[in-house]
Amino acid sequence: MSGTVQGRDIAIRLAFGSYEEAKAWIGRRSAIQFCEDEVNWPQIKYFCSLVRDGNPNYWDEDEARGRYGAIISPPGMLMVWSMPARWRPDGVPEQPLLATQVPLPGDTLINVSTETEFLRPMKVGDRLNVEEEVLDISPEKRTRLGVGHFVVTMGTYRNQRGELIARHRNVLFRFRTVTLAEATA
């Protein structure tokens, strides 16, 4: 079973099921997903203007070339490169994250924590790929936001030469919101 979280004009597809069904996903791996775009300077400058990062490795070609041979991506853009296009002429965009495909009861999600190791620079022109694995799914927990399950995944990022770029462990909370009546029951 799958469903759609509808925010006005944008949809996040989620798979629904029981915790028992979800547990069968522990250890499961995604197919290798190739990132939509190459690591590129315009998107790097866009991201740096968001967080106001003036690091010359992202802005100054001469300095970056001296250190790395090319402008490099901020480490914070690792996940950005793997975001799928919102629309494609050939149909539905790629499934975004393995964690959203795990069947669980929760109708929404929020990200909780990440732990990332960066082993090589991401250079302009690189085309990354990512392979994800479900590491763990917690029993039902209640937080301030609602009741649900913590889904732990590991993403392994490589470049077009197969070199390991980063390992990224992600914890997200897949939950249903608690209504005021439920909260005060």
Binding site: M79, T116, F118, T177
Partner: protein, 151 residues
């Protein structure tokens, strides 16, 4: 115009003290910033741009995403560490949604300075606060250059 070297000072491992404070960074969170966040990170999850959806999630308003905090804490650490530093590891905990109307303020300090596998490392903690308390907390591990080659 200042030369690049003056704009981007480099930290050397030799000079770092445990407990050293990093400069505070503040940033008001506006709806425009959240729109820029969605576009710059290509993240169109509705909680980051749709107020009704965010409130339905028990958040006060649309809130900044994980990738914003990655980039922001890396900036806070990186401005201190300098362009020759290499961010080797980052742990980020999202504690409470940081929403439109909040003002971000950082508290950052050096937790640890050590050597491992022949590398000169420092661990920096960055706490991202708003008027309502802790929004997110990160631990950044950098490999820093040394002033002396040691031979």
């Amino acid at each position: 115009m200042m030369p690049p070297a003056a704009r981007c000072p480099q930290r050397y491992w030799d000079d770092v003290r445990e407990g050293e404070l990093l400069p505070e960074v503040t940033l008001p969170v506006t709806l425009s910033l959240c729109v820029l966040d969605a576009a710059a990170t290509r993240d169109f999850f509705p909680g980051h741009h749709d107020r009704d959806y965010a409130r339905g999630q028990n958040a006060r308003d649309v809130y900044l995403n994980t990738m914003f905090f990655h980039g922001f804490v890396d900036r806070v650490g990186g401005e201190w560490a300098g362009p020759d530093a290499w961010l080797f590891r980052r742990r980020l905990d999202m504690v409470s949604p940081v929403c439109v109307g909040d003002t971000i303020r950082t508290e950052a300090r050096v937790l640890r300075r050590y050597e491992h596998d022949g590398q000169s490392l420092v661990e920096v903690e960055v706490r991202v606060l708003t008027e309502r308390g802790l929004g997110a907390a990160a631990t950044l591990t950098y490999i820093l250059p040394r002033r002396t080659t040691g031979d």
